[in-house]
């Protein structure tokens, strides 16, 4: 039997801040963005309602190409983050002695004590033409002259994977911790090899963690501005940079709002498809 939902005074007290937060900082700005994105000019140059801002997106290849690129790269970054984080999480939870687990988690967390900006600048110091790595490689005679390692897709993807690692590793660690070791041993005892154990036992068990980690990583990557801007530069356009340009460079807030909404639709769509493909429920994944 379902319990009736009663609006009591304590409940109102607790809910009010949350609802105010949601309403004032999330719902209202988005309504305003939506309103702006649908404002355009008629032939006479007077303000009018219309979908011209959205039409611009489809008419101009640079816009939708960047959009598709951002989506594909975000999915790629999510997959790569999973591939990197899974062995790390497995090692921390199942292989290493329990007393080192906390220490290793600490090591994993440590880079995230400094802001993303500082970390990205750290990478830039390492990778730029006059940077540490180039200095060493030329010094050792492996390279004749320094090469520019920044401002390309590979570096940008690497930077994004690095930035997102923790958000994948933490849910994976917590979900793998709940995996009973004897399940792995039982599979081993029944004749399974390591691959079978991974794909039939570990990954099915870890699925909620994988999906929730993927959602977070995907959303953060899709909406990331800093890393693509600093590490990708002008050669690796990210859709958030297009939005920024519309708002700040072109002062075209109506166009920027339309792009913002398209990004929101994109991320919702990809996550919905992801949940359907992995047969997970959002309510279970966010637990």
């Amino acid at each position: 039997m379902k319990r009736r939902f009663h609006l009591t005074l304590p409940l109102i007290c607790f809910l009010t801040p949350v609802l105010l937060w949601l309403l004032l900082l999330i719902v209202l700005p988005h309504v305003e963005l939506l309103r702006m994105s649908l404002r355009t000019e008629d032939f006479g140059g007077d303000p009018a309602w219309g979908v011209a801002n959205f039409m611009n997106f489809f008419k101009e290849p640079i816009y939708w190409l960047t959009f598709v690129r951002t989506a594909v790269y975000s999915i790629m970054v999510t997959v790569m983050t999973f591939i990197v984080a899974m062995p790390v999480a497995f090692y921390i939870t199942k292989v290493v002695a329990p007393r080192f687990q906390g220490f290793l988690m600490m090591l994993l967390l440590m880079p995230f004590w400094v802001s993303e900006l500082v970390r990205v600048y750290g990478w830039m110091i390492l990778l730029r033409e006059s940077g540490v790595i180039n200095h060493f490689l030329t010094g050792l005679g492996i390279l004749n002259q320094p090469i520019e390692m920044l401002y390309n897709d590979v570096t940008m993807v690497m930077g994004l994977v690095y930035t997102s690692m923790l958000f994948m590793a933490v849910p994976l660690v917590s979900v793998l911790e709940s995996l009973d070791d004897s399940l792995i041993e039982a599979a081993y005892d029944l004749g399974a090899n390591m691959g079978t154990i991974l794909f039939r036992i570990v990954i099915p068990h870890a699925m909620p963690g994988i999906v929730s980690g993927s959602i977070v990583v995907f959303m953060l990557t899709l909406g990331n501005y800093l890393t693509p801007n600093l590490m990708g530069g002008k050669n690796s356009l990210w859709f958030t940079e297009q939005i920024y340009n519309q708002f700040i460079a072109s002062f075209n807030w109506n166009q920027g709002s339309a792009f913002g909404f398209l990004l929101l639709v994109l991320s919702s769509l990809v996550i919905w498809v992801g949940l359907k493909l992995t047969r997970q429920k959002l309510s279970r994944v966010v637990q």
Binding site: S182, E185, A186, A187, L190, A192
Partner: protein, 362 residues
């Protein structure tokens, strides 16, 4: 008779700690062999060495004559039933049972047939598509057994699988497991700390203590002819006295307890006068109010402290007159002793052949 499992002088040390100390035993085909011992005695380590999860520090394990050194668990012809069963919760009953068969790349039709057959064998026909969390404790037990038996292992290892069940179900599963083993004829190696499980089900029981085997014998012999004082204490209930040997005859010794009581009892090994000994006596060896003309009895009087009524397993808790040792005395429920009350003074006796004594370990 073919030996399915042969453990030869196996030891396992972890740093300074010796978990298993020079253990040897053979299990012939079709036998139900139990390893009985208190928790921490090394029995799980021994089992994990047979399954292949741990390598022995010394010694050799052979399964059907093949040396298992360096053979990984997935290549050994043994299967292990885990303490908490370790059924795969993400799979159905049929998928759980099929798991091992698929690893052997058997044909789909064969797998289907084997699943149906094994589920009938464990009395769960039609359970193929059930999820694991839909099953009761006893049903999970049977699925775990089916999952291993379907692979027809040379030896089935069981790591206290009944531990998590409630008492009633445990009693029932004990009988079922014994019946099942007799039907399929697979060699079982069962480890437990519950002496009743070991005694009821096994053909042979090894009593294990601090890493070594105290005695390997049939359940009857363990109960009636214990070889060490640990076995006497651990297997079944016992009354224990400490004492000193006063006089020795052939097989019968005269013992004096610290409170001055004299008992005549048998000893397994010759003892010299003056040796400190432990004397053990089963509660059911005590005769309440014996007839006056019975020979060879140790007679003495006790004061009843309490009546422990437990159906067929009822006992009296009593103190000897000049002593505060607590004695357990079996109380037959044939209505003959219904008059006995608390604080009654009654005569009890035991035959000198029914007690057993060992030199005490000091």
């Amino acid at each position: 008779m073919q030996i399915d499992l042969s453990v030869q002088r196996v030891s396992k040390t972890f740093g300074d700690f010796t978990a298993v100390d020079d253990v040897s035993f053979d299990v012939p085909q079709g036998q139900f062999f139990s390893i009985l011992g208190p928790s921490g005695c090394g029995k799980t380590t021994l089992l994990r060495m047979i399954a292949g999860f741990t390598e022995p520090s010394r010694g050799k394990i052979e399964i059907r004559g093949a040396d298992m050194a360096g053979v990984s668990p997935n290549r050994r012809p043994v299967n292990l039933i885990f303490q908490h069963l370790a059924l795969f919760p993400m799979m159905t009953v049929a998928q759980n049972i099929a798991f091992g068969l698929q690893r052997r790349r058997e044909k789909r039709a064969d797998i289907q047939q084997k699943i149906t057959r094994i589920l009938e064998r464990v009395d769960l026909p039609g359970f193929e598509d059930k999820a694991i969390d839909q099953l009761s404790g006893g049903q999970k037990q049977r699925v775990a057994i089916a999952r291993c038996l379907v692979l027809e292992p040379a030896v089935l290892l069981l790591d206290e699988p009944l531990g998590a069940l409630d008492l009633k179900l445990r009693e029932q599963m004990k009988v079922e497991l014994k019946k099942l083993q007799a039907q399929v004829g697979t060699t079982f190696v069962y480890i437990t700390h519950d002496q009743s499980e070991a005694l009821v089900m096994s053909d042979h029981v090894a009593v294990m203590n601090q890493g070594h085997f105290e005695q390997v014998d049939t359940p009857q012999n363990l109960y009636h002819q214990p070889q060490t004082s640990f076995v006497s204490r651990f297997v079944g209930d016992n009354n224990a006295w400490s004492g000193v040997v006063k006089r020795c005859e052939t097989e019968i010794v005269d013992i004096e307890t610290p409170s001055g009581q004299h008992f005549r009892t048998r000893a397994t090994v010759p003892l010299t006068p003056g040796t400190a000994v432990d004397l053990f006596l089963r509660p059911e060896a005590m005769i309440i109010q014996p007839a006056a003309d019975l020979p060879n009895l140790n007679r003495f009087e006790v004061i009843v402290k309490s009546l422990l009524f437990d159906g067929a397993n009822s006992r009296l808790l009593a103190n000897p007159l000049n002593d505060d040792t607590e004695l357990l005395i079996a109380l037959p429920q044939n209505r003959q002793f219904d008059h006995i009350r608390r604080d009654d003074r009654i005569e009890v006796a035991w035959d000198e052949q029914s007690g057993i004594c060992f030199a005490s370990l000091e």
